[in-house]
């Protein structure tokens, strides 16, 4: 029988290894799997490459993971955020690497990684410093002619940590509003996709027409009944651990 539920966030992240590439869902706090991130802080894996749109805020969640010295490199589109000091300080001190990727290119590179597409072309970043080292080419087809495009390469990961609204034991997922953001594509792009949800549902409760992430993309699910809210923790001045 297929049952992807496991007992705890600790079990969920137990095999994340030093040097692993880890995608973390969320756009700001919306969709951030904060309990999974904190479990990864407890677990202690080092020299991680982390993919997220941002670099976290305050001293909890992703910012705390970075602050704890576990992240060697960030791949993101916007490493400055309100209440974000951890990454900027480390970056300025030369203690963390940054690969800056335009947000849509980041999303599409992740989707490509999940879809078995090693590379694709886009007009995004053409003529900017971010395209300086990229391969350029043109296309003759009418809809795309007369412009330059750059080759962008897929991003894949060893692990993805994401937050879902509902999950059944097959791993079928739904998401809540704009907390969906990067989660469905990150679920596709990782060898091991780890999900936290506050709503464990029976198989069949999610209508087959409404499934956003089919279970095939999910490896482990853990129930976090009352997930913390990043902005509330920050407002209280909480630091993790």
């Amino acid at each position: 029988m297929i049952n992807k539920y496991i007992p705890s966030v600790k079990d969920a992240v137990v095999d994340i290894f030093d040097g692993a590439t880890v995608m973390i869902g969320g756009f700001g706090e919306a969709g951030s799997p904060i309990e999974l991130i904190h479990a990864l802080i407890d677990q202690g894996a080092k020299n991680l490459t982390v993919i997220n749109n941002n670099t976290g805020s305050g001293h909890v969640g992703l910012a705390a993971l970075i602050e704890n010295g576990q992240v060697g490199k960030m791949i993101c589109s916007f490493p400055r955020t309100a209440n974000s000091t951890v990454f900027p300080d480390l970056y300025t001190a030369g203690k963390i690497e940054l690969e800056l990727v335009p947000q849509g290119t980041l999303a599409e590179r992740i989707r490509a990684g999940g879809a078995g597409i090693p590379g694709f072309y886009t007009a995004t970043s053409v003529g900017t410093v971010l395209a300086d080292t990229k391969e350029h080419r043109t296309f003759d087809e009418a809809a795309f002619s007369g412009k330059q495009y750059v080759l962008e390469k897929a991003i894949t990961a060893d692990f993805s940590l994401i937050k879902a609204h509902q999950a059944d034991r097959y791993g079928n997922l739904t998401f809540n509003k704009t907390a969906r953001n990067f989660a469905p594509i990150m679920a596709m792009a990782a060898t091991t996709t780890i999900v936290q949800t506050s709503n464990q549902v029976e198989v069949g409760e999610i209508d087959a027409e409404h499934v956003i992430t089919p279970g095939i993309f999910v490896n482990r699910i853990v129930t976090v009944s009352n997930p913390m809210q990043e902005s509330k923790l920050i407002a209280k001045g909480v630091s993790y651990p």
Binding site: P79, F87, P102, Q103, V126, T128, K177, Q229
Partner: protein, 226 residues
């Protein structure tokens, strides 16, 4: 527009710039609004027009700011501020959201600017300072993918330096992407010939705008009258 022109003022303030840009958004448009003044545009779209707002973090049909106390931390816009969703909205993931952008499905994007060049080059993400933390977000995707790019910006910097230039000195966000600029002084179209003045803000004359623009400025109001 009449109530603006009747004011005894010089130039447009931030809200009026947003209001002026809003006049140029046609009924039925799909529009993405950047962070800052552009966000205000939604408030001023003339009644009778139905405009659908896209926010790149996965929502088409973004509604106004919720009332205090009704914010949902999982319903935010690209600036990470709480928003609402209209009836008839749709949620989707980041891959699909930027497919909308890159695939030229969004009609208009309204953005801020640090510099705009007369060929439509835009710089709005970095001053090129070596000490700054680089951060680009979705700006490069938006300018590369959206059909029409409107810019709302002060005509000059706080130090009085022109932002409309022959050539940008800051790192570019995109090449030849800007269609129209709404400043505190004027509405300016970027054409094959360069900057063309479409309209002056109340109390502002052509010479004032020309002096504050570090590139040639064509008065197409005259051309249109000829």
């Amino acid at each position: 527009m009449n109530h603006i022109i009747e004011n005894k003022q010089t130039g447009w303030d931030r809200s009026q710039m947003a209001q002026r840009a809003a006049q140029d958004i046609p009924d039925g448009s799909y529009v993405n609004l950047g962070i800052g003044i552009p966000e205000q545009v939604a408030k001023y779209v003339p009644s009778g027009r139905e405009v659908i707002y896209h926010t790149e973090n996965g929502l088409l049909g973004m509604g106004p700011t919720p009332e205090v106390g009704c914010e949902d931390p999982e319903l935010i816009n690209a600036g990470k501020k709480a928003v609402t969703a209209i009836k008839g909205a749709a949620y989707f993931h980041h891959g699909d959201s930027f497919a909308m952008i890159r695939g030229q499905h969004i009609d208009i994007c309204v953005l801020g600017a640090m510099q705009v060049a007369q060929n439509g080059d835009l710089a709005n993400w970095s001053t090129g300072s070596k000490n700054a933390i680089p951060a680009v977000g979705g700006a490069m995707d938006l300018v590369a993918g959206v059909k029409t790019i409107f810019i709302i910006t002060q005509h000059v910097t706080k130090n009085g330096e022109p932002k409309l230039l022959e050539q940008c000195s800051f790192p570019l966000t995109g090449q030849g992407v800007v269609n129209r600029i709404y400043t505190d002084l004027a509405v300016i179209e970027v054409t094959n010939k360069g900057f063309e003045l479409l309209e002056l803000a109340p109390g502002v004359d052509f010479e004032t705008v020309k002096v504050k623009t570090a590139a040639n400025l064509i008065d197409s109001r005259l051309a249109n009258k000829e």
